[in-house]
């Protein structure tokens, strides 16, 4: 084998192995891979029912190189809080305790445990990989499904008519030290945010946007491209909230039209042009709101707002 190339932007060390049971082009695996690269081997995972409880493999085998605890759907944050407390009791305080749940296990079923842990400010990291529906059980609507999307429980004639639940603001309202969003198409950004979060004591919440080709009704090769388009079309803004101060970490200079992002996916194929325009307005409104929040929270905290450096890579 030739030697490791020198110009890598993310560490070469892997903590997951090939042979896992994910579908072709799975975004959740990429999210786990990047998160573990940042967390390192000194980590304990607790995983409720979600895609990852299947991807990890049948019982005596495992895909991860770290201990993983399978737990009931609603108990991800509660079990993580317990693990953190237990590890503290035996004097192991340098272990990263991570609750790793899908968007259904975070926004719908697990939210009370998450809210409880966040209110107590337990020393855990909660990572939600958001693929915008219950993908593991066959694409059912979750409260994280966006407006206009098809799922098996919201068929095209009666598509979802409610917007996506804003979990970032729910977690910011708990006044926890660190909340961030990331996307699998920007691995360096994921690593930066997880690295930052693991230094902080208290509850950290990260939401990683991960594609699901079967659930989004698209070809598996668009798994990364679609997520990059979501960020560049401002559908999924990358931001971090540090003690209540919002910072948008990626501001696309020339945002893509939302229609380009929607066109790639079969789950939006039923939308008419007016409905696409409606989504565009929602996205623009949300972006304006975030810009306002960024400006006002920086002013209140007395932190000067840094001008974003021009990104080297062009917006695709």
């Amino acid at each position: 084998m030739a030697e490791v190339p020198k110009k890598l932007t993310i560490p070469a060390e892997e903590h997951i192995c090939s042979g896992h049971l994910a579908c072709q082009g799975c975004g959740a695996v990429l999210a786990m891979r990047y998160a573990l690269k940042a967390l390192g081997p000194n980590t304990v995972y607790t995983v409720p029912a979600c895609c990852w409880s299947v991807i990890d493999g049948p019982f005596p085998y495992t895909t991860l190189g770290v201990p993983l605890f399978h737990i009931a759907f609603e108990a991800a944050a509660a079990s993580a809080a317990g693990l953190a407390a237990g590890l503290e009791m035996v004097g192991k305080e340098d272990v990263n305790v991570v609750a790793w749940a899908g968007d259904g296990g975070t926004a719908d079923i697990g939210i009370q445990a998450l809210s409880g842990a966040a209110e107590r400010n337990d020393n855990i990291m909660y990572i939600c990989y958001d693929n915008e529906a219950y993908m593991n059980t066959g694409v059912q609507r979750s409260s994280s499904t966006p407006w206009g999307a098809w799922t098996t429980t919201t068929p095209a004639r009666h598509f979802k008519k409610r917007p996506k639940k804003n979990l970032v603001d729910i977690m910011v309202a708990h006044q926890i030290p660190y909340v961030a969003t990331a996307a699998i198409a920007f691995p360096e950004d994921v690593l930066k945010k997880v690295n930052k979060a693991k230094q902080i004591k208290g509850t950290k919440y990260l939401q990683i946007f991960a594609s699901c080709p079967p659930g989004w009704r698209m070809a598996p090769e668009y798994a990364v491209k679609s997520v990059r388009m979501a960020v560049n079309a401002r559908v999924w803004p990358l931001l971090e909230v540090d003690n209540g101060v919002y910072t948008i970490t990626r501001k696309p200079r020339k945002p893509l039209p939302v229609a380009d992002y929607l066109r790639l996916q079969g789950r939006f194929s039923h939308l008419t042009e007016e409905q696409v325009e409606e989504i565009q307005q929602m996205v623009d409104h949300n972006w304006e709101r975030l810009l306002f929040l960024e400006k006002s929270t920086h002013e209140m905290a007395g932190i000067p707002l840094e001008e974003k450096k021009k990104t080297k890579e062009p917006d695709k």
Binding site: L21, L30, A223
Partner: protein
Amino acid sequence: MTEKVEIRGARDMPPMAKSLGRMSWNKTGSWRNVTPVIDYDKCTSCMLCWKFCPDLAVTCADPPEIILEYCKGCGVCAEECPVDAIVMREGL
């Protein structure tokens, strides 16, 4: 009469609670119906294929190689390659 089992470490655990190893025995290459082929004349070793492979089926080496044992043929590498050095060929 059952006796109390004292668990001090992994050695004292009953066999059911032990992991038998990692999932590497599962050769997912058989899932594939299209196969990525790298054109090494075009390849610039930018490692984007390695970075975005969900199956960890690209070696982190210069130049990268596809591990066909595990490649599920999703085509992310071919889509992400900035110089179009990877094409998806029909069949295993």
